[in-house]
């Protein structure tokens, strides 16, 4: 990539810091230059977040249909998966899987609910009702 071809399409990171890119100068020698972003990759990032949002919405609907527990909703909201939830809470993966079921969730003890609530940074009430007040 030549230095005058380096894109400068302001992206989410570009607002905070320029990124070092390796480009060639007039005589073909490599130099570094800062880029504020590239539309091609910021749209890729957008696709990733749209997918996350879709998964959150799907999860919410599943919980409302009583096909899944609010843990699924919060897991998607925090961009986590079962191994990550398991690693942070200390529950086994099969336990997390079980707790993702609507009925199993209703029987969870307060202390277990508290563990999930802590991970998802919500209160136990919010955990149960799926109500979140994000900053």
């Amino acid at each position: 990539m030549k230095k005058d071809e380096l894109p400068q399409d302001l992206g989410a990171l570009g607002k905070i810091t320029g990124e070092v890119c390796y480009v060639t100068d007039e005589s073909g020698n490599y130099i570094t230059q800062l880029s504020n972003g590239w539309e091609v990759k910021s749209s890729a990032l957008e696709v990733a977040w749209k997918d996350v949002e879709q998964r959150i919405m799907d999860a919410q609907q599943k919980v409302l249909n009583k096909e899944a527990s609010p843990i699924l909703f919060f897991m998607e909201l925090r961009v986590m998966d079962i191994p990550i939830v398991s690693a942070y809470t200390g529950f086994w993966k099969w336990q997390v899987k079980k707790h993702l079921k609507y009925d199993a969730f209703q029987k969870l003890s307060e202390s277990r609910l508290a563990k999930y609530a802590e991970l998802f940074e919500v209160s136990v009430d919010e955990l149960k009702t799926m109500k979140v007040h994000e900053a």
């Binding site: 990539m1 905070i16 990124e19 390796y22 060639t24 990759k41 749209s43 890729a44 961009v79 191994p83």
Partner: protein
Amino acid sequence: MKLDFQHTQAAHCENGVTTSLLRHHGVNQITEPLAFGIGSGLFFIYIPFMKINNGPAIAFRTQPGLIFSRTCKALNIPVARKKFRSKAEAEKILMECLAAGQPVGCQVGVYYLTYFPKEYRFHFNAHNLIVYGKEEDQFLISDPVMEMATSLSSYELERVRFAKGAFAPRGQLYYPKEKRPVTDEQVKKAIRTGIHRNINLMLRIPGPIAGIRGIRYTGKKIGQWRDKLGPKTAGSYLAQLVRMQEEIGTGGGGFRFIYAAFLQEAYTYFQIPELIDISKQFTKSGDIWRSAAVQAAGIYKGRIGSQADFNVMSEFLYTAADIEKQAFQDLAKIKWPA
């Protein structure tokens, strides 16, 4: 306490940490491209049975941690590396290092990394930064991908050092154990070692999913994505490919440009004209990867999306594979001075 340490920005976090820590130890020759090349950083792998963030697991670079270890080893500099069970112990050792005047490389997760933009905070655990001091409750942080040095409270730092999930850092810290002078002869030897290992990794690694064969394999798979996954998921998969290739840390073109820069620097040590030619081949490959990204963007933005468009995408990968194969074969043919 603030150590005398100079923050330098780099394209890739691990290259940056390696370069900065070595420079702190008086090793000034090692630039980011040299660290990347000596550490044989260039790679390609697509792991079909693994998913990252519900998308394909693709990497354009070698496994996290190896660039630092390989570069130090090649320069005969002993490395200290520690993981911890206890958070308290992790902070204690960190403080001891700082008290001894040693800036420390730390592996961290980015999900809770407060100074990163929200859009970048996925559960990705192989980020690297340097801690170079503590003032009141704030640890002073040199994060190589940021233009300026920054800071984290001790709680924030503990949280990212003990991020969980794949590649969990478990508080891992590392630094060069000793100050040792590095001669140009050593650098030359290290460059050759790095290049030879990279030739082996890209041309001779067994199995179809890694190295040059991995690029071809991915090209083939992309041609099937539209039918197998449906246009929408196929688009998301391509978006993930582009992110792995271009997002912070690659220097553009899936690290191919950094590698081309490395070969130019290698030339200044050896004056072998082939190195310049081969560097150009990597530049060309990087440009192909960039064109592939533009094509992919057309697909995931819904501007194009026919099977023919996916086939064009495959062709880009086949072309990149051909160029890189030739480039590594040419590297293998170089007659190094005795």
